[in-house]
């Protein structure tokens, strides 16, 4: 289990970061533990000096040889990239920006691997939220899902994962088609009251897969929990990690599970 707390990017605590709390955890799937493997998911969040909050989750593909390095490089790489560039406003602008961000991520894969670099060894997904005072941007490559809570309890799925004809087929950041297949959603940020990013291991437990609608009895208690005032963020991250590694979750999914919650 790994727990994550918010990382202050560039060392300061700006206004938005004070308002938003990030509670995140990740638990290794039982099929990975059984094979002696580790957790291949990664998550990271950061607040920029101008008040932008960035949330990222990545899921290394089971078929990728360096899946856990890939997901770590992906979340660090994209946050570093976004932190050092001016952010676009339009969907087309974000698509171009994302394409450049993915290029830097792939360069970091190649640099880490050295001469024997093979794309498929670093296949991973990427889920990303960029929250500014005015707008919310959700970007996704591959499976998993991003859900927002609006107002007191309305839940909206922000991205629709690419699913091929068959179960288990998806797109990874290493695919040349990734920027085109990326899901990009831009919304006004004003009434957003909660954000959840999760790797695909949790999808069948959090969503109605036939209708693609978020399952309210899953999300509502989680957002409530993340916003509890009398617990520290570290404590909440630990509790969330225990929840993700619990028997009742492992009975339903053998995959790695990562959940990142953000609440004002």
């Amino acid at each position: 289990m790994t727990v994550g707390t918010e990382t202050d990017f560039l060392g300061q605590t700006p206004a938005v970061a004070k308002r938003w709390q990030v509670v995140a955890a990740s638990a290794t799937g039982v099929s990975h533990s059984r094979r002696g493997g580790g957790n291949e998911d990664a998550h990271l969040s950061a607040s920029l000096l101008d008040g932008t909050l960035i949330l990222a989750v990545s899921d290394g593909a089971g078929s990728a040889r360096f899946a856990s390095q890939a997901s770590q490089l992906a979340v660090h790489g994209i946050i570093e990239y976004l932190g050092c560039s001016s952010l676009p406003d339009s969907e087309a602008g974000w698509r171009r920006h994302l394409a450049r961000g993915l290029k830097t991520i792939r360069s970091s894969f190649a640099a880490t691997a050295g001469p024997g670099y093979r794309r498929r060894d670093y296949a991973c997904t990427l889920l990303l939220v960029v929250l500014r005072p005015e707008t919310l941007v959700a970007l996704q490559i591959g499976d998993g899902c991003i859900v927002a809570q609006r107002g007191s309890e309305e839940l909206i799925r922000l991205t629709r994962p690419f699913h091929g004809t068959y179960a288990g087929e998806t797109t990874f950041v290493t695919s040349p088609r990734a920027p085109r297949r990326a899901q990009v959603t831009i919304l006004p940020a004003g009434d957003i009251s909660g954000l959840a990013l999760m790797s695909d291991g949790l999808e069948p437990l959090a969503m109605n897969l036939a209708t693609q609608v978020p399952h309210p009895p899953f999300f509502t208690p989680l957002f409530h929990f993340a916003a509890l005032p009398d617990k520290s963020i570290l404590q909440k991250c630990q509790e969330l990690g225990a929840f993700l590694g619990s028997e009742r979750i492992n009975a339903r999914t053998h995959d790695d599970k990562t959940l990142l919650l953000a609440v004002p």
């Binding site: 078929s63 004809t165 288990g168 087929e169 009895p217």
Partner: protein
């Protein structure tokens, strides 16, 4: 008690991994071979049952060709609901008709998945024979290869002792040549199939699924 105990999990049906077995039960399988084949099916069922996810996801159907002509011995059912019926040997080898029956069963199953909104993995069609077709097989083989090339299914063939391997090579896709079973290692073959189906039913693939190593076939073919 933690607030997280209040979180309720959504219920979704498991995605299905269909696996269709086309099994030769012609006269030449009589005696030891048919016994080994039946034991292999038992081993397959027991091994998948050890995987609590795969037993709900892997769906088996069996079409036999030989004794009694072409028979749907088992229509698609999840492994946890499957009791392998004993196969008996006798008669000729109507492989072509078995292929047509198999393709039809697969088509019907896929339609059912779509109607029910179930996700499913690419179906496997697994042919085992110890002879060569005694009926028209060309059209059916062409159809099977066409569906395979359009990613509609994955077609594998295994030749047991006595199989016409050259003919079998004409039946399956060129890029997936038939494998020659070592002796009567049906149990090993079906354990491999079980492990493969367990991988499939847990898989998420952007490119290729790594299958377990094949120990039950002669490498010379």
């Amino acid at each position: 008690m933690s607030e997280l105990d209040l979180v309720q999990l959504a219920e979704n049906p498991d995605p299905r991994a269909p696996c269709l077995l086309l099994l030769d039960t012609s006269g030449s399988m009589m005696g030891k071979p048919i016994r080994a084949l039946n034991e292999g099916l038992q081993a397959f069922q027991q091994d998948v049952m050890n995987d609590d996810l795969a037993k709900r996801r892997v769906e088996v159907a069996i079409v036999s060709f030989g004794k009694g002509g072409v028979r749907t011995m088992q229509d698609f059912t999840t492994v946890e609901n499957w009791t392998p019926a004993e196969l008996r040997a006798g008669g000729s080898t109507p492989l072509g008709e078995a292929l047509r029956r198999g393709l039809r069963l697969l088509r019907e199953r896929k339609d059912l998945y779509k109607q029910a909104g179930l996700q499913y993995y690419r179906p496997w069609m697994f042919l085992i024979t110890d002879g060569e077709p005694t009926d028209d097989w060309e059209e059916a083989a062409k159809q099977a290869k066409r569906e395979d090339s359009h990613r509609g299914l994955l077609f594998f063939a295994v030749g047991a002792e006595g199989a016409n391997m050259d003919r079998l090579a004409q039946i399956v896709p060129k890029d997936r040549p038939p494998l020659k079973l070592k002796g009567l290692q049906f149990a090993e073959l079906f354990l491999w199939l079980s492990q493969s189906q367990q991988s499939v039913s847990h898989s998420r693939v952007g490119d290729q699924l790594a299958l377990p190593p094949i120990g039950w076939a002669d490498v010379s073919t």
